[in-house]
Amino acid sequence: MKSRSFSFLIFGSLLATSASVHAETLFVSNPLNNTIVKFTPGGVGSVFASAGLSTPTGIAFDSTGNLYSANDGNNTILKFTPSGIGSVFASVRIG
């Protein structure tokens, strides 16, 4: 009985581990067609965001999984939720 409960725990942990590895997604900014695309670990791509982007350059994630995109074309930083909904995070020139 003890070994069965252990095996259930191990089974669950393995599922959890494999799922979190598969969540690793690569995002790429495309300044020449104003998109941000994402790739699965297997290299399958799809468009993540295109609205509001103007020559997107730098991208970075905050600790809660929001994606920030620097836009060379219109001097803004946009914030995208994990589901791809965008809003302007900063646009004022200060430096």
Binding site: S5, A23, T25, L26, V28, N33, F39, A90, I94
Partner: protein, 205 residues
């Protein structure tokens, strides 16, 4: 902002942006309030990244150098050799810094003390963005080639993706996504089943 390029978060959640044309780095609070963090030692800054001690590194595309800033914003030259149009920057888990040289198609690796060596060359058409996955493979986007290449820790490269890219620029892994439902479900199921077995055993004794 003035032609913002690279972005990086510090451990406190502040966002830093390199202003390519203004030669400044701006710092934004999580609420979006900006101030100038640095305005010296910068020459067309592109990529930004932090080391584990909270120092900020900026690639100077125009100056072929990497500038290092303390958390207080005091700058110094970290490296000025082995660089040719440096763009993306990233640290590996051992504290080595990698720079994508857009102008000569190489990736240079630097020790924490700034000693450089060639990590990858050949087949890279204007390398721009760099990012490590959790297994220690380095991904390199190529602006001119519209590809993403993947390198093993030993420096062996292979094509990762070449579709849907148009001026492939900065790249980033989303490693902050919480474990999705199947994993949580699996763990939950395991715990519940284990609990059932435990209770069943207790009842018998």
């Amino acid at each position: 902002m003035d032609n913002p390029y690279g972005l990086a978060f510090d451990s406190a959640g502040n966002l830093y942006a390199a202003n390519f044309n203004a030669n400044t780095i701006e710092k934004f609070t999580p609420g979006g309030v900006g101030t100038v963090f640095a305005s010296t030692g910068l020459n067309q800054p592109t990529g930004l990244t932090f080391d584990s001690s909270g120092n900020l590194y900026a690639a100077n595309y125009g100056g072929n150098s990497i500038e290092k800033f303390t958390p207080g914003g005091v700058g110094s030259v970290f490296a000025s050799s082995g660089l040719s149009g440096p763009h993306g920057l990233v640290f590996d888990s051992a504290g080595n810094l990698y720079a994508a040289n857009a102008s000569n198609g190489t990736v240079e690796e630097f020790t924490s003390s700034g000693v450089g060596s060639l990590f990858a060359s050949g087949g890279l058409n204007q390398p721009a963005g760099l990012a490590f996955d959790s297994s220690g493979s380095l991904f390199v986007s190529t602006y001119g080639g519209n590809t993403v290449e993947e390198y093993t820790p030993g420096g062996v490269g292979s094509l990762f993706a070449n579709s849907g890219l148009n001026g492939a620029h900065f790249i980033a892994f989303n490693t902050t996504v919480s474990t999705p439902e199947p994993g949580v479900f699996g763990l939950f199921t395991g715990l519940v089943l284990s609990g059932c077995v435990f209770l069943k055993r207790r009842k018998r004794t």
